[in-house]
Assembly symmetry: C2
Homo-oligomer: 478 residues x 2
């Protein structure tokens, strides 16, 4: 059974879960000696399957809480889309903990540093003339010219996780308890790991360049420390990307399909770039969210009311996301981990790298929401120790707002101005609802104390976030 | 000689400066007993004139540095505009220090708390049937229906300061060494001072309201501490503004002219609002900048390449601004001091309050700029201890970009999207120029480490700022 199949052709959720908990993993991860690089990604050994493991010693252990380990393998990921029809990879109860691996979808930018020697990554990226372990990449047609799924959506998403009893109208709380960088599997790079930044054809800068040739796509590789000694990333080298011929013989003039593996012999690597630069790391989940009910399958690129590719670097360790549940089981997936990103993610990507998250997942039933901060919440809310972060988008419900071709229309409508309007309305309503303010009180408070930032200008459905300090409400009127 | 005269009809800069240093202040500040509130703002005593005073003991005293005291009075302010034809109130040398008072232009929202007993404020706001001390308010026609100057520009600006030897092409560095809240002059409010937030007709929210009546303008008064015990502001009360009849009998249905004084008997004050809310203070200069050469007189509202009403709350104590000099003497003015503001200044205003700044002003001649961070700088740059802040606008050179009616056209063109585009280009060019990066290096660094925020969406020429951490460049390549 391949994740490359169209989701609504697959067995029921329960069957799938049972399979993953009981069956030995077979197939997919094949030895492929003798086939020339880069048309093969070789799998050194089989990656593990999902299983329950003891809770880390430093965590609270409520009565029934379980701790799941969910590795990223070709059997546990869906690539480039969310779908309500996907078979869950695990089924959990409210309160359970999950350690979940994420793989960057751009690891092919440097195979030696981001795939080689990593069984999970090798299984996901495995693709040669005969075999492509994860065939569907994106929500597009399976016979799309650029490849199955059309690259309409790019992120390797681990999941989905089925949360027992979750139904439309509930709120799913996802606590990000910790994040760990995924060590490089290649023994040449001990205690290090890597990430990649692509100045992409979908970047904000792409048609607004000074230097020739125009346009161009450029990959910059960054090095990260896995020992915890450094909290910054270091630029290593860059190169001009493409064109590239994939293992099935399709020529990609631009970076229009995920999982393409670059042959280092075919690029011109520039070392000594960005000398003396240290990029502060801000590890976070670029993509984290639930499947929406509106369509059978949806690109992972535009963020939605159910979350997804929000690309807010604040969605990291210590943060808690609240998502409106749209379908039975909620169907939570995670991916697109970033080591660092600026507000705007200007060139189309962050430092894309593989990280593992430790989550606790808590279901709030609709009938328990009244008089809480979650009542009437119909968009993805972030809570941190200091702040509430309200996420506005160009079209907050784009799948229903933009007609039957919404998934393509959204790219023609991208606008910071509309996202700003949405963020204003959401934060006003949030303050009125949760703090019992009049509209006049809310508007004054927004103007004097709430900061609006540009989340991203690269995901079709562009984002503006509004940050509300919790300390605003900590005083007592004197 | 009144600041209400058309600027280009006034004497030369030098004459004016001599006048201010030598002549006794006469006229303008008149006793006006017996005329009913609010058509009169009574002046208790004459405010001081500009003069030199010893440097504060804690400041460095370079060889020739002088320290000027520049009070805000009806003789030292220009209301609602910049003009290259304005007579300077002082003439200084590069390196001089200036203690400069600013008065909020919205003090009339609560006369008792923000004008009464303050000779400077009383002199500026003085307006009854017979006399209006500062007649021109804005860059519009002197016979405009709403009042002289048409309210096309609203900020009470103290200055201009003529910097000797400054010429077009130079850069003026303005160091904000300190900021002090202006104590309330009314003895009823000891150790306190106040600010006002107006949800204005030019606010982003004005035509996007939930509650009736729509639209409406609302004033919220905030209380500040002048003793330094508290670093937050406290909401006091709010009220619905207008209509209001000014001392000349003109009825203002909306807040369309600055300096209108509200009669407390004619409003319905709502106390107990925003209970338990503490607004963190972020004192800053909303308006700080130079006169541009392009026009004879220009509204103070849209920010420009010469600075002005940037409304970035980071332009406060410890910050340094760098402005391109456009006219001889630079002609620096300051006003629109804010106690606090969120990024976006959503409702049209911040906590508008009166503060005094201590500045040091340093001229960088054009021929000294090569190979410095200031070379080719043609927009207003902020430096703080941690950051460089790049200011983008909808139209960065709007006076020349939008044709002969640019000062009105700009309000029809307001867009966050265009300001974002400008901020991207500026920060890219800034990184390439000052850090000697290639375009590819700059774009990658922007995407992974530079944050874009919404400065303001209320000043016609809307703003997006890009924040570049200095620490990015602090490392050594290992």
């Amino acid at each position: 059974m391949s994740q490359g199949e169209t989701p609504n052709e697959t067995p029921s959720s329960h069957d799938r879960r049972t399979f993953l908990k009981t069956a030995a993993l077979t197939g997919g991860v094949l030895a492929a000696a003798g086939i020339p690089f880069p048309s093969v990604v070789k799998a050194a050994s089989s990656p593990p399957e999902p299983h329950q493991v003891p809770l880390p010693a430093n965590l609270p252990a409520p009565g029934k809480a379980n701790h799941w380990f969910l590795p990223a393998t070709d059997k546990t990921v869906h690539w480039g889309y969310f779908s309500k029809n996907l078979k869950p990879v695990i089924e959990i109860e409210s309160g359970d903990f999950v350690t979940l691996e994420c793989l960057t979808h751009q690891a092919g930018d440097d195979y030696e540093r981001m795939i080689k020697g990593d069984p999970g990554a090798e299984s996901v990226y495995y693709w040669n003339k005969q075999q492509k372990n994860v065939n569907r990449r994106g929500a597009g047609a399976m016979d799309a010219p650029v490849g199955a799924g059309g690259g309409e959506g790019v992120h390797i998403c681990t999941g989905p996780i089925y949360v027992r009893d979750a139904q439309a109208g509930d709120i799913l709380e996802v606590r990000i308890l910790d994040m760990y960088p995924r060590p490089c599997g290649n023994s040449e790079y001990k205690n290090r790991t890597f990430g990649t930044n692509l100045a992409a054809n979908w970047g904000y800068h792409y048609h607004d360049l000074l230097e020739d040739p125009k346009p161009r796509e450029v990959v910059t590789i960054y090095e990260l420390d896995t020992t915890g000694e450094r909290n910054w990333a270091r630029p290593v080298y860059n190169y001009r990307w493409g064109p590239l011929t994939d293992p099935f013989g399709i020529i990609h003039e631009i970076y229009n399909y995920p999982g393409l593996v670059v042959d280092p012999a075919k690029i011109q690597a520039n070392h000594g770039i960005l000398k003396n630069v240290r990029v502060p790391i801000r590890p976070h989940f670029g993509t984290l969210g639930l499947a929406p009910k509106e369509v059978e399958i949806v690109s992972s690129i535009p963020p939605n009311y159910t979350g997804g590719n929000i690309d807010d670097w604040r969605i990291g360790k210590g943060g808690t996301m609240y998502y409106p549940v749209s379908v039975d089981g909620a169907l939570l997936s995670a991916g697109d981990t970033h080591a660092a990103q600026g507000d705007s993610e200007l060139c189309g990507t962050a430092i894309e790298s593989s990280w593992t998250g430790l989550f606790q997942i808590i279901l709030h039933k609709q009938n328990s929401l009244a008089e809480t901060v979650l009542s009437e919440l119909n968009w993805p809310l972030l809570e941190t120790r200091e702040d509430w972060v309200v996420h506005g988008f160009t079209y907050p419900q784009y799948l229903t707002q933009l007609g039957p071709d919404a998934q393509h229309e959204i790219y023609k409508k991208s606008a910071v101005d509309l996202a700003m309007r949405d963020a204003y309305r959401k934060v006003r309503d949030f303050l009125m609802r949760t703090q019992k303010l009049s509209e006049d009180e809310a508007i004054s408070l927004i103007s004097v104390a709430v900061d609006f930032g540009v989340t991203q200008v690269v995901d079709g459905n562009w984002g503006v976030h509004a940050t509300v300090k919790k300390s605003l409400f900590a005083g007592s009127q004197d």
